[in-house]
């Protein structure tokens, strides 16, 4: 079992890297929303764009999502 503090926020993952969602932070509203878009713990995610400022783009379950940096910070991931 990995320690929770070894996870890093999705916002810090560089473009081209594939990671697995481990934990979602934030309220139920946020969690329900990203879950309906395919982001739940255990899902593999590829970061497509992360320019270091402004929203990032990820690929999840065959579709592309743009996430604001605040939202991406609440998704904790681990290298796949």
């Amino acid at each position: 079992m990995e320690a929770a503090n070894s996870f890093k926020p999705l916002v810090d993952v560089r473009a081209g890297e594939k990671v697995v969602v481990k934990e979602l932070r934030g309220g139920r509203g946020f969690i329900a929303r990203v879950a309906s878009l395919g982001l739940i713990p255990g899902t593999e995610v590829e970061v497509v764009r992360n320019p270091g400022h402004g929203p990032i783009i990820i690929r999840v379950k065959g579709s592309y999502l743009a996430l604001g940096r605040g939202e991406a910070a609440k998704v904790l991931v681990n290298l796949a």
Binding site: L24, R28, G29, F30, I31, A32, R33, V34, A35, S36, L37, G38, I40, P41, G42, T43, V48, R49, P51, H53, G54, P55, I57, V60, K61, G62, S63, Y64, L65, A66, L67, G68, G70, E71
Partner: protein
């Protein structure tokens, strides 16, 4: 294609022996749902709002075999939680209206994601038919989907479709009828909740058994309660007594994470279906979407692409829209006026009646008509970009700049459109799903100087400032945009406490647009504008004409002039005399009227007006006047569009009041404190 007939709106009553079926169309955004809706209903569509909501409601009818289908297009949603108005509307409709069949559309190319909504729909009482749309896009991506296996595993009818090519639409209707007539078996398999929460769900069901009123299904209520759904939680509180609620909430406490298990269970269910029915691509060649997005979402090149796209939109508007516009004005409206004028003279009509018909009514019709080509081109291009999937990319690229003002990335496009005309900008703001950002975008749109205000600027700036006209004009535009940003920021801080709008947006796969869908969309938008805003514009045009005519028969001694006199002390603070105040007031009908009114009041034609104004008005006053003209109440067409989009007169008057006050304050400030 005669498999089904989209109906014209006049022939929508059921014929003898015909059965009426109520069908609801559900689906996530970007699954081609509106294309299917348009295929089915065509011109029989009725576009309005959901009762008490600002969300658009589309319904229409379709006659097929022995049935008349009443089709309601539910808002596109990713799930059915209480988190957004759209999701509430969709689920309330199914729970309360119980349509005979729910048609769930999914995108075959993003099957795993889009089946999530189906998992939620199966919990609701209406039977579901699954439309597996965009099979062609899925095939391009390398997916092989076996619809029959999917049907067997799901226990509900599954119809493969390529709606954009009209494939599978007839089969979809056959499946709907087959289901209703009991010819197709219906044994839906529901997703299961993970082990850890099964006993809790069971307990919730027991606790509420017999207490959940019609039309709510007990199982659905129990699941939603466990999900932590805010709306259902409140409802259940009202249904059960305090002791019972104590038990329920004690049970729910400690399971706040249940939503993840429920969602996880749904995705596991989807995973099993997909594993059985879909052959997934091996690492194939780079897809079209990937290739295009290497440029379209690039931080720098993305901006360049967007600038080009915007350039093309403006170019198209002016090369297609403007000639039609001037033809409408020059030929149609002018000859109508001429014909009416000679007819009125031969009939011996009094001068006031002549004025009313020519200046009030025909002038008003001319104003309404002049928007028609611009709107049609804007909506066509906008619809094209949206349908192809580009609009989301532009929003992505601009979000960095927009969210600072509490706006959404999508706000940029309508705001930018405002440079051409504020009317399509206001109407285009409906692409923004978040209500807060949509309202703020509409509120800020009038700051964007439209081409009519630019025309006034181009005429008057050289009069007041000679060679420095270009610099001054440029400065005036920058002032407007700076105020736009500042007001956006302040509203965001004051009313939304600087809270950043969450930005979560799907970037759909690029695909070929469906021209029929876009065409119908353009038709409905333009028709709605002509009908709703058109009446307001015409009425205001007639009223303003009457005010500027009576009681003396000329604008100088008119009621409008008296209003000008009342406002004059205020105008004087900004250096304006009553004539300039009056010019501002008439610019309410159309921005370019400011110049015409000045011409009448200074007793000069447009050529002579320049020198007359040069003699009478100092550059300092001229500057204050231009600042006010640029910030004044948006024209009546824009105001009507705002009313149409926001659906509230109170809000509309708030906008009018705000811009009225702001323009006077700004005019007074620049006059009193010249640089």
């Amino acid at each position: 294609m005669s498999c089904h007939q989209p109906l014209k709106s006049e022939e929508i009553t059921p014929q003898t022996g015909e059965k009426v079926l109520r069908v609801a169309l559900a689906g996530q955004p970007n699954v081609g749902k509106s294309t299917i809706f348009n295929m089915l209903t065509g011109l029989s569509q009725h576009v309005g709002n959901w009762p008490g909501k600002t969300v658009e409601k589309k319904s229409g009818r379709c006659r097929y075999r022995n049935y008349l289908m009443d089709i309601v297009d539910l808002p596109g949603t990713y799930s059915l939680t209480a988190n957004s108005i759209e999701e509430r509307i969709a689920r309330d409709y199914i729970v309360q209206e119980r349509p005979d069949v729910v048609v769930a559309i999914v995108n075959a190319a993003t099957l795993e994601r889009s089946l999530y909504l189906l998992a939620e729909l199966l919990l609701l009482p209406s039977p579901v038919v699954l439309g597996l749309n965009m099979m062609d896009v899925a095939e391009q991506q390398g997916y092989r989907i076996d619809a029959q296996i999917l049907q067997a595993k799901l226990g509900i009818p599954v119809v493969p479709m390529v709606a954009s090519k009209n494939q599978g639409v007839k089969e979809l209707l056959d499946a709907v009828i087959g289901l209703v007539e009991g010819l197709i078996p219906y044994n839906p398999r529901q997703p299961e909740i993970k082990e850890a929460h099964k006993p809790i769900l069971e307990k919730l069901r027991e606790l509420m058994d017999g207490l959940v009123p019609e039309p709510y299904p007990l199982d659905w209520v129990a699941i939603k309660l466990l999900e932590g759904d805010s709306e259902l939680t409140e409802l259940v509180k009202g249904w059960v007594d305090e002791d019972k609620w104590g038990e329920i909430s004690a049970l729910l406490k400690g399971h706040e994470d249940a939503i993840l298990d429920i969602a996880g269970g749904r995705y596991e269910w989807i995973r099993k279906l997909v594993r059985a029915a879909v052959e997934e691509p091996r690492m194939g060649p780079i897809s079209l979407t990937e290739r295009l997005d290497q440029v379209a979402t690039h931080p720098l090149w993305g901006l360049v692409v967007m600038a080009l796209v915007l350039g093309v939109i403006f170019w198209l508007t002016y090369t297609i829209g403007s000639p039609i516009q001037s033809w409408l004005e020059g030929s149609v409206v002018a000859s109508l006026a001429k014909w009416a004028s000679s007819w009125l003279s031969s009939w011996g009509a009094p001068a006031w009646f002549h004025g009313l018909v020519i200046d009030g009514i025909i002038g008003g019709i001319g104003t309404v008509l002049s928007f028609f080509p611009i709107l049609a081109v804007f909506f066509a291009v906008f619809g094209l970009l949206e349908d192809m999937g580009y609009l989301a990319r532009a929003a992505y690229v601009m979000d960095r700049f927009m969210h600072w003002m509490g706006l959404h990335g999508k706000s940029f496009l309508p705001l930018f459109m405002g440079f051409g005309c504020n009317v399509p900008a206001v109407m285009g703001s409906r692409i923004i799903e978040e209500e807060r950002a949509r309202l703020l975008t509409i509120f800020l749109t009038p700051f964007v100087p439209c081409s009519a205000r630019m025309a006034v600027l181009v005429f008057l700036a050289p009069v007041f400032f000679g060679e420095r006209a270009f610099l001054v004009s440029w400065g005036l535009i920058l002032i407007n945009l700076a105020i736009l940003a500042a007001v956006g920021k302040v509203v965001n801080l004051l009313f939304f406490k600087g809270e950043r709008l969450p930005f979560i947006m799907e970037l759909p796969l690029y695909h070929l647009p469906n021209l029929r869908t876009i065409g119908l969309e353009v038709w409905h938008r333009v028709a709605a504008f002509l009908k709703k805003a058109g009446t307001v514009i015409l009425a205001v045009s007639v009223v303003v004409w009457a005010l500027s005519y009576w009681p003396t028969g000329s604008i100088e001694g008119s009621f409008l002039a008296r209003v000008g006199v009342i406002l004059e002390p205020l105008g004087r603070l900004a250096g304006l005399d009553s004539r300039m105040v009056l010019a501002l007031l008439t610019s309410f009908v159309a921005k370019e009227n400011a110049v015409a009114t000045l011409g009448v009041l200074y007793g000069a034609g447009e050529e002579a007006l320049a020198s007359a104004l040069q003699d009478a008005v100092s550059p300092r006053t001229g500057f204050a006047f231009l600042v006010m003209e640029m910030l004044f109440i948006p024209c009546v067409a824009t105001v009507s569009a705002i009313r149409q989009e926001v659906g509230s007169w109170r809000w509309t008057f708030l906008v009018i009041g705000f811009y009225l006050i702001l323009s006077f304050v700004a005019g007074i400030l620049v006059y009193r404190f010249p640089l």
